[in-house]
């Protein structure tokens, strides 16, 4: 592990200009990611996904992303040609999309989609690629990889789809993985399995992980560092272990409004939003 | 100009979608006539050029003293296209067949008193070379001879036909789509709505110059013109006046006009109160822009003819008593009790030229206050309405069935029984509830008048009476304008009395 951060983001902005007005989804976000687990939390619409996507330069029109600085292990991502950027995607930076149900090509077999992820980056024989795909599926704890390889996405359960998605993004061994709510569609039991896989990768391969979620409890237990977003801005950056000491009232509010087993049955605390936070 | 037509093949563009059967005992359409006329010979044939009667399969003929028995000497040297010789039996069989099958055109023979029951006795083989026909009244011989030049009297190869007969249809089913004649051509192929291909009959006495005749169905006049201009066809038979003009101005092409027998008319149903009022139909006769129409959109396609006989027929006269005169017509209408006109429906077939005439008529009748509503309908619908005596004004066309004046007189000027029950559905006077009191007797007498001149006079008289009394507004006689390549000679449309002849056609190659 080097000291140099894997990813540096400075003053990232994402704007949507539509006929009904301008939306600023991300408003000047700066952070760094090393070979660690960085969590991004925030309520729905706070700009978490847009932040993740703009790193991969995948904001579609009418959205526009700009940043003062967007460096990935010494490469200026903004300066890359579309072709070179493509080589970065998947190979160096990958992203697990929010919902596996919509993120796998429904008419392509899982196998082809996995092999494709390899073949666009490496010259590799079909049988070799297949082997790697099988191995990858086994790595994400899929019991019957052969069968899954020849299945279509709709034949998989949500949990399997999510793991396939993770396998597909990990197969070219990226240096940085952006995981956008990788567990929100899963049952609590499956959720933990998936997290264990990701955890292993960071530990064993030294991969950097950006973990996007709105579940503060989960992030606090899983990540090293947490970025708290509110209305497109980072309101607080804090070590996960120190989350209980968070200062920002928004972060505190988020923590306190959760019911807990065995907690009191008084009305829950509710978050009082302050215009000044925005 | 992708290819010139072969030198020994005559290629004709025509609309032949009305062609449905080629059995001469059944066929009754114009296109059918054009084919059958060339596939079959009759006892008496018309000369393609002069359209005068001459020997056909009969060398000569004669009539008995009492005027009721006609005898025909058969030319036994002739052969059918199949190679079978032409025998008296064939002649007898063919004529009896028409009567027995009793298809639509059979009336041309049965009007002479031949019936299913008596035809074995009335049409007889006398000896191997002679056939006799006995009729019920002493008809004018010209009447019978003319009738025998009609397609229905074609002589069919009995042997060939009976080989292909099914049940007791006397070969009718097979003959619908095959030929068994002794005419200059035989049928090679007929694809409905596409083409007819005929080949020269090698057994014909004078084998035609054109070894093949190819009639191609081309519904669009503009297309026909293009084909003609490009040299893809030799003759185009359905050109519009505008196309004709272009063809005339093209020095590779020429136009030949020939009058045809079809008559354009409007009739007024006498069951309708207004139309039956004396003077009203006469007024309408003054409300047609005869010259305007004949000189504009039907230019060259028709000539004005205000009589029920087409020019070329025995007894035809060239009187044109009517012309567009709105003032006069208004006065006549006022006298008849309709100073402000009335409203009437004009039934018309859904064809472009007829709709154009209808619109012009609508326009001119409108000027005298008669509000015309055009009711277009398909041919068979027009016919159903018309036959049921339910039409008001009808714009129709009548074509003679055989080259004798009786063919038209019997429908325009004769109505033996004007009652609904009579169901004389084939008779135009009956369809219009016109009793034709003044002329019915004359028409009946004329068919037995032996003196041809006297007979002609009788028809002239009938037409003049019709001008005054009949509810028929006779307007035009068709004229066919054929565009053709300059090198085509000898093509005859058959004029007013017959169908097309191909046997005399030649193409000179330069």
């Amino acid at each position: 592990m080097t000291d140099e951060p894997l990813l540096e983001v400075e003053n990232l902005r994402v704007r949507f200009e539509t006929s009904r007005g301008v939306t600023e989804a991300v408003r000047g976000v700066s952070f760094q990611v090393g070979r660690e687990r960085v969590g991004i939390v925030g309520e729905s619409g706070s700009g978490k996904s847009m932040t993740g996507r703009s790193i991969l330069r995948l904001i579609r029109p009418p959205g526009v992303a700009t940043a003062d600085r967007l460096m990935f292990s010494g490469i200026d991502l903004q300066a890359l040609s579309e072709r070179r950027m493509r080589a970065m995607r998947g190979r160096r930076i990958a992203m697990v999309m929010q919902d596996p149900k919509y993120s796998l090509n429904p008419v392509m077999r899982i196998g082809s989609q996995l092999v494709e992820a390899l073949k666009v980056h490496e010259r590799i024989s079909k049988s070799k690629a297949r082997e790697r795909a099988l191995q990858m599926l086994a790595d994400v704890q899929i019991r019957d990889p052969e069968r899954v390889l020849s299945a279509y996405p709709h034949e998989l359960s949500g949990g399997m789809g999510q793991r396939v998605m993770i396998a597909m993004m990990l197969i070219p061994s990226p240096d940085l993985l952006i995981a956008d709510e990788p567990t929100s569609a899963l049952d609590v039991t499956v959720q933990l399995e998936v997290l264990r896989i990701l955890d292993g990768l960071v530990k064993d391969r030294g991969m950097g992980l950006i973990f996007i979620s709105h579940d503060l409890r989960l992030v606090s237990t899983f990540c090293d560092r947490v970025l708290v977003m509110y209305l497109g801005k980072i309101v607080e950056e804090i070590d996960a272990s120190r989350l209980q000491d968070a200062e920002h009232p928004y972060t505190r509010g988020l923590l306190e409004c959760l019911p807990a087993i065995g907690g009191s049955h008084e009305p829950l605390k509710v978050l009082k939003r302050d215009e000044a936070w925005a | 100009a992708l290819a010139e037509t072969p030198a020994d093949t005559l290629v004709i563009a025509n609309t032949i979608d009305d062609l449905k059967v080629l059995d001469p005992a059944e066929s009754f359409e114009f296109s059918g006539g054009d084919v059958i006329n060339n596939l079959y010979d009759k006892l008496i044939e018309l000369d393609p050029k002069t359209l005068k009667m001459g020997p056909g399969l009969a060398k000569s003929w004669d009539v008995s003293e009492d005027g009721k028995t006609f005898t025909f000497k058969i030319d036994t040297s002739r052969k059918f296209a199949s190679g079978n010789p032409v025998r008296a039996e064939d002649v007898v069989w063919s004529l009896q067949r028409v009567v027995k099958l009793d298809k639509t055109p059979s009336f041309i023979l049965t009007q002479f008193g031949l019936t299913k029951d008596n035809v074995e006795d009335t049409v007889k083989k006398v000896d191997d070379e002679t056939v006799s026909i006995t009729v019920d009244r002493p008809y004018a011989p010209s009447f019978l001879y003319n009738a025998l030049t009609a397609d229905v009297a074609s002589i069919v190869d009995e042997k060939l036909a009976m080989e292909n007969a099914s049940g007791d249809d006397m070969g009718n089913e097979w003959l619908k789509t095959h030929s068994a004649g002794a005419g200059p051509y035989t049928l090679r192929a007929w694809k409905p709505n596409e083409s007819v291909i005929m080949e020269a009959n090698e057994n014909y006495p004078t084998v035609p110059a054109m070894k093949r005749v190819f009639v191609r169905h081309v519904p669009e006049p503009a297309t026909q013109r293009l084909l003609l201009e490009r040299g893809d066809i030799d003759i185009a038979r359905n050109l519009t006046p505008e196309d004709i003009q272009a063809v005339e101005n093209n020095d590779k092409l020429k136009v030949e006009d020939s009058p045809r027998g079809r008559i354009y008319y409007i009739s007024g149903n006498q069951k309708m109160k207004e139309l039956a009022t004396p003077g009203v139909m006469q007024a309408i006769k003054y409300l047609i822009d005869y010259d305007g129409i004949a000189n504009s959109f039907l230019k060259g396609q028709v000539v004005v003819n205000q009589q029920f006989l087409p020019i070329g027929f025995l007894g035809a006269i060239d009187d044109k008593p009517f012309k567009l005169d709105v003032e006069k017509a208004k006065k006549m209408l006022a006298d008849a009790g309709y100073p402000d006109g009335f409203e009437v429906e004009l039934l018309v077939r859904n064809a472009q030229d007829r709709l154009a005439v209808a619109q012009s008529v609508q326009n001119t009748l409108g000027q005298a206050g008669i509000k015309v509503n055009i009711k277009p309908a398909t041919g068979s619908e027009v016919l159903s309405i018309y036959r049921a005596r339910k039409a008001e004004l009808t714009l129709e066309v009548w074509g003679p069935d055989y080259p004798d004046p009786n063919t038209n007189a019997s429908v325009f000027a004769e109505n033996p029984d004007n009652s609904d029950a009579a169901q004389l559905t084939g008779n135009l006077s009956w369809r219009n509830a016109y009793a034709a009191e003044a002329t019915t007797k004359m028409a009946e007498d004329a068919v037995v008048e032996k003196d041809t001149d006297k007979r002609a006079k009788m028809y002239e008289e009938m037409q003049r009476i019709g001008n005054e009394k009949s509810p028929f507004v006779l307007m035009f006689q068709y004229q066919e304008q054929d565009g053709m390549q300059k090198n085509v000679e000898g093509f005859s449309t058959g004029g007013a009395v017959s169908s097309a002849f191909y046997k005399a056609v030649t193409k000179t190659t330069e």
Binding site: S44, V188, T189, L258, I261, G262, H265, P267, L268 | -
Partner: protein, 258 residues
Amino acid sequence: MSGPQSAGNAKIAVSDLSVTFTQGRRPVRAVKGVSFSVKPLESFGLVGESGSGKSTVLRAICGLAPVSGGEIRIDGAAMAEPRDKAFARRVQMVFQDPYGSLHPRHTIDRVLSEPLAIHRFSDREDRIVQALKDVGLDARFRFRLPHQLSGGQRQRVAIARALIVEPEILLLDEPTSALDASIQAEVLNLLTRLREERNLTFVMVSHDLAVIDHMCERLLVMRGGEAVEALERSALADHAVSSDYTRTLLTASEGYVR
């Protein structure tokens, strides 16, 4: 396991309920012989992972699922098939997905006035205003379309719609699972308050044990269409559960353990 309980004073008594869907030609047994009963004014919870048949139980109560066995009684009486208007007056449901349970082309006003029209209420205008106030929505939302509202606001509308016909029983199908934690708290508080004010009986479904624990006095754990065990709330806090499955759920809800 909860056996069939005496339906004596139960508000809702579900006994041996089975529901079988047909998917294509295959029968899908979504609920297999589930029994429970809910006392008047009680709040009863159903927990279990996705697909365990929680929603189906609620839908079966409402007559929206093909019941293939067992029976459902409310106040000791069987219900009309199909459910009639009288049923609608007594039992109402709030759906899981606030984005899917409001007609995208109906304004809030229409959403709220329709049940009033169906049940021929008189003072509709006042009731709508009151209903909005009850769920803490500003009157200016009244003529908006659902897409102009946030998820929490929509869920409030859905609750208002359910309460506007003054039912006795409210069936809640994961009313907050689609919402952020901060908004979840508001909605849960709202529900608690309304239950007290209106004397309602709740049946609430959730996959989140913490939420159930917060809201309900008793709960039933479900898995694969079957009832695993029925618990008092206190049992959860004490981890006094008998089945392994419930225990797994309990640990999982504490977050990730390295």
